[in-house]
Symmetry: C2
């Protein structure tokens, strides 16, 4: 099978690497408007060839769109317009409701499968692509009842070949859940980085003391704004809800400090320790 990857960056490029290595596809065609990224994708062997969109879509049975989420609503219908009814289209976007709304009434809607492989790093672009990025991680498939069974089966087989666990959600539930377990982590991390960087202007030595705890908490603050701003934009309403809860919780810690109420502070930390159940399941 030939695969077309529109946007062979961190996610699309890593997927191309694994799918060729594990024999799921034989050949990968890339679509990449940025000539620097196109050259990198060829150089790194993510794709065999870079072609214009129309040609790239025409020749592949499966087309994966792996571009920043603000372009999905424009690109997905454009690709469906170019497709035959036996081809399959799949996206990998981090937000789902807006992308699904954009193809809702397209005559080939049922050839599209909306997915979100929950894998990534704080890096982006073809240079960030790597083997085994998806291994053992969770992939969400959304609104699968709106896809043809054969299209869904192909995509499920693809993710099984990457050793991902599949979860099925509707787009609204997906967007709400990722606001909690992914998007807010990024905002917390960006804010932490800004807080300390601002202080560094007065206290030049401050980062000499940065420890591994600090590093793990701010790692996500290295993430690229071109990836994340569109996600925050599309998932704005859910993120605002989480952000309100988060600000209230941080503010509660502040109030407890002001009141010197360290006994309640202790109880809250004990409650937070419950996260062990999630991070280190028995």
């Amino acid at each position: 099978m030939q695969l077309t990857v529109i946007g062979p960056g961190l996610i699309g490029g890593s997927m191309a690497l694994d799918l060729r290595r594990n024999g799921f596809v034989r050949r990968v065609v890339g679509v990449e408007s940025n000539p620097v990224h196109a050259a990198q994708a060829l150089e790194a062997g993510l794709v065999d060839q870079v072609l214009p969109l129309e040609e790239a879509v025409a020749n592949s049975h499966l087309i994966v769109v792996a571009i920043p989420v603000d372009h999905l609503a424009r690109v997905l219908p454009m690709v469906l317009d170019l497709m035959h009814p036996d081809q399959v289209l799949m996206d990998v976007g981090s937000t789902k409701a807006a992308a699904l709304a954009a193809v809702e009434h397209h005559p080939l809607r049922r050839r599209f499968v909306a997915t979100h492989p929950m894998a990534g790093t704080e890096y982006s672009g073809p240079g960030a692509a790597r083997n085994n990025l998806f291994e053992g991680k969770c992939c969400v498939l959304t609104n699968v009842e709106d896809s043809d069974p054969d299209a869904l089966a192909l995509v499920e087989k693809l993710y099984a070949s990457l050793h991902m666990h599949l979860t099925y959600l509707d787009a609204q539930a997906h967007d709400l859940h990722v606001a909690y377990v992914s998007h807010i982590s990024h905002i917390a991390s960006f804010a932490l980085a800004l807080t300390v960087l601002e202080k560094e202007q007065d206290e030049a030595q401050i980062f000499e003391l940065a420890s591994s705890g600090f590093n793990s908490t701010v790692r996500l603050a290295k993430s690229h704004p071109d990836t994340w701003v569109p996600i925050f934009q599309q998932n704005r309403d859910h993120i605002l809800d989480v952000l309100d809860t988060y600000i209230n919780t941080v503010s509660k810690f502040r109030t407890l400090l002001i009141k010197n109420d360290f006994s309640t502070f202790h109880s809250l930390i004990k409650q937070a320790n419950e996260i062990k159940r999630i991070l280190d399941p028995a």
Copy 2:
């Protein structure tokens, strides 16, 4: 040389392991009031023997106090009272001003060296002790001008044997810096864990989607309240300042979302990306 470790837990126990392995000390005596921890420390080979405080202090040239910071102001003068003027006392506490104030006027003050090895994990107790915990990390020595040169030299040699980088600060500067690069990360992490755990009550599936980004941001939320509440208590004023800045920064992101000002959001993330300079130095 014989070493006495008062509190052979994550920090004290890991130090004992490394110092015996690298030949810096020959024998380690532990002081541990919790009988379960005492048995674990013996079992894990962190200490050769557990003794009552008085005996344990009498026989060692060097005494390390590695206990939660709320006990330092009581224990440090107690140990100095038991010491001869040729012995050396050192602590490893995460806050320094309160501990130093407690020994300020002690006749043996100059035999004490105040240190903070910036190493650790989210675990605690003797079971968390491990080899090479300190390797390549930063250790802060505070107010060294108040210690005897030979005492300081011994402690510097000890940390050199653990391959730590030494930094010298006064206690106030130390406590301010750690509020920024360590304590606030923990509060941000505790708050994130609580935010998502609360939501889990309505959305049971939410953690199926937790990704490696989430895991790294909330890892510190596993940290034990008995370690951290005393630190927050002792460093309350500095932490309040950082917390105000942090809450303001998170709130700024919230306001930008409300206003749909994604261009300023993009600029702030670009600024936050500056953290790469610290995390991935060239």
